[in-house]
Symmetry: C2
Subunit: 365 residues, 2 copies
DNA sequence: AGGGCGACCCGTAACGATACAGTCCAGATC
DNA sequence: GATCTGGACTGTATCGTTACGGGTCGCCCT
């Protein structure tokens, strides 16, 4: 039977001529499709000269491997999926996530992988989204954040040997690839320096929840206090949503009950703003009254008034780049053991560093 | 020849059993693969009872169409690609973009399409990214923003009949699907209301560039002035980058040269902050001195001090949802003519509306 | 009775890439 | 000279899906 449907199907609507495929190349070179296929992936059974000849022709004819064909034959999709968690309130989620995605996508650029984004919608659990990727074979690897110590997504992937890289550690026994920030180290550092500066009553704000990094923050806090011979006071370990409002109220409650507190370690950009608002509401000026606010997170918001803020900065782009690296390494067959990265925070005493670089993001206190 | 490679290939690593496919269903039902395929897409040649039977079995056996097979056979990838433009400075690009992506992805969820993200990296032009999508058949449709009147990406797609939806209008003669905000209408409204409140000297800040919306803003400004019988003064039409620094300086220059200005229409969240900073630097208090700042954009930053700000808000999620709708409609064969949406701005006189909903984003002036 | 006509279903050939089993031939080995 | 070896290639079947051209069968009409 003659081809009856080829003209309408599979042909590129983009270029006038059909997109070059292995057969095109093979015919053009007088080789078989098999040899061309092998040559393009540097198969050991093909002569070096032939390989060179094939690659040259491929470049010349603009050959691009057909992802559908590869998927069908090998099961590989040449996609990496990143899960997007919806902002809970308002239009903005984690604002640094965009930089992470951008650098992840850019990091995949030199490979033949592309980035798929899947939003965790409405009624879905975090596991649902990951399961969808695995079951529907949407991607060859998945990247997710907001890990918990016994993360069910990580367990799910480990059980079925589905490649993944998490942004955040877990406490699972099986090693897996991850990128994380050194929250414990940074909090230890913060406490130690505050203690060295004479602070005796140092508060820590954490949100409720079971995310792994919260444990690291708490451990860092306790270790820092112990190393500086400061007593632990449960009243100084606060739990509050990281919204401006909740952290403002938490700071206000803390300070109106106990004026001896001279330092507050916050958990993200928003809580810095909230705590500063809370301090102001209590009539406290950080500079005049010697109170230090310690912030953590991505690029901080602009601060107009010169309050005393020490900031531990997470370079978000490095996260994305490292996620990309680890993902590609996993997909290339490297064992997960070596693909574990704990990134240091960058400490700065002067938020004007961010202010004066024309941070497009900032608003001002 | 017997199958020799099937076990290792194409089988799902996820479930123990192989993933159900059309053949599985066909065997299970005693039908042919063809009929099953047709039944699943409600082909008119299949009896309704058979369709029901097939769909039931498909659900029971957890059939998921293999995207690779579809891609290979039909050329369709079942993907929609959104182009991500890298933030120019710092970690944050357009912060509302995340909400847009999230709602776009969520809007595609009920369909069988998934969202591909492609970052425009390093040396790439805007066209490069779109061309990559089309040439490499990465997706069946593309979504991009930052349109210009003679947008080359739109022209490229129109020429090759590649489906796309732009966020932003163009002035191309061929109609195409887009979503945009009504900048002209909103600026007209702003000017009219300012004039009604007695403002005679109203300034407008636009960034440099050729993006389409800038023209609409300018037209709205001129139309608004004309309708209120106010004279045009070129000195009141400012050009400045939308960074805090640049808009601060622009406002300062304007006000120190000419104290008669009583209203400034800004172009985005950042410029509101910058202009307010500029006013403060000139010793101007908006409330006391009767100066009005008009802001435009996504969710605004929190403002601590009670400055007089009128804000035209773009609901970002609606953009994403509409983009999803138009894309799916295009892919379903609807003509682009009807897929053009101009969304109204939501005006508010009181930014506390945003402040008190616990905007996770805000920082405070 | 038999021809015609729908309604409903099936068989086959692709789409592009790749795993695997051959094939072919020059050179080495006995 | 026959046999073996290994390097460099080719042929074929296959992944899951769908377009297309047939089939089959019951029913109606003349």
């Amino acid at each position: 039977m003659a081809r009856t449907d080829g003209a309408a199907i599979g042909g590129s609507r983009v270029t006038g001529r059909r997109q070059a495929n292995l057969r095109t190349l093979a015919d053009h070179l007088g080789l078989s499709v098999t040899t061309v296929s092998r040559a393009l992936k540097d198969g050991p059974e093909v002569r070096p000269e032939t390989i060179a000849r094939v690659k040259e022709a491929a470049a010349e004819l603009g050959y691009v491997p057909n992802v559908g064909g590869i998927h069908l034959r090998t099961g590989r999709t040449m996609k990496v999926c990143s899960i997007l968690y919806a902002p809970e309130v308002g239009d903005y989620g984690d604002p640094g996530f965009l930089a992470q995605v951008e650098s992840l996508s850019a990091g995949l650029e030199p490979s033949r992988y592309n980035l798929l984004m899947l939003a965790q919608t409405g009624g879905q659990t975090p596991l649902d989204a990951v399961r969808k990727v695995a079951e529907q074979q949407l991607a060859d690897a998945v990247v997710f954040s907001r890990t918990t110590p016994l993360d069910e997504r990580a367990r799910y992937c480990l059980e079925r040997d589905f490649p993944f890289v998490s942004f955040g550690r877990t406490e699972l026994l099986t090693p897996h690839a991850f990128v994380d920030h050194d929250d414990e180290g940074a909090v230890v550092d913060a406490v130690a320096r505050l203690a060295a500066d004479g602070h005796r009553r140092i508060a820590l704000i954490n949100p409720a929840g079971t995310l792994t990094y919260l444990g690291y923050r708490l451990r860092g806090y306790q270790r820092g206090l112990a190393e500086s011979d400061l007593p632990r006071d449960p009243a100084l370990s606060l739990t509050a949503d990281l919204s401006v409002r909740a952290t403002r109220e938490a700071a206000r409650r803390l300070l109106s009950a106990d004026r001896s507190v001279t330092a507050i370690i916050c958990a993200n950009q928003m809580s810095v703003v909230g705590v500063l608002e809370g301090l102001i509401a209590c009539g406290i000026d950080t500079v005049r009254d010697g109170v230090t606010v310690v912030g953590f997170g991505g690029m901080p918001f602009r601060m107009l008034s010169d309050q005393r803020v020490v900031y531990y900065y997470q370079p978000q782009r490095r996260v994305g780049a490292t996620l990309a690296h680890h993902t590609l390494a996993l997909l290339a067959g490297e064992p997960a053991e070596g693909l574990t990265t704990v990134l240091p925070y960058e400490r700065t005493d002067d938020l004007r560093r961010f202010r004066d670089d024309d941070s497009p993001m900032g608003a001002a206190v």
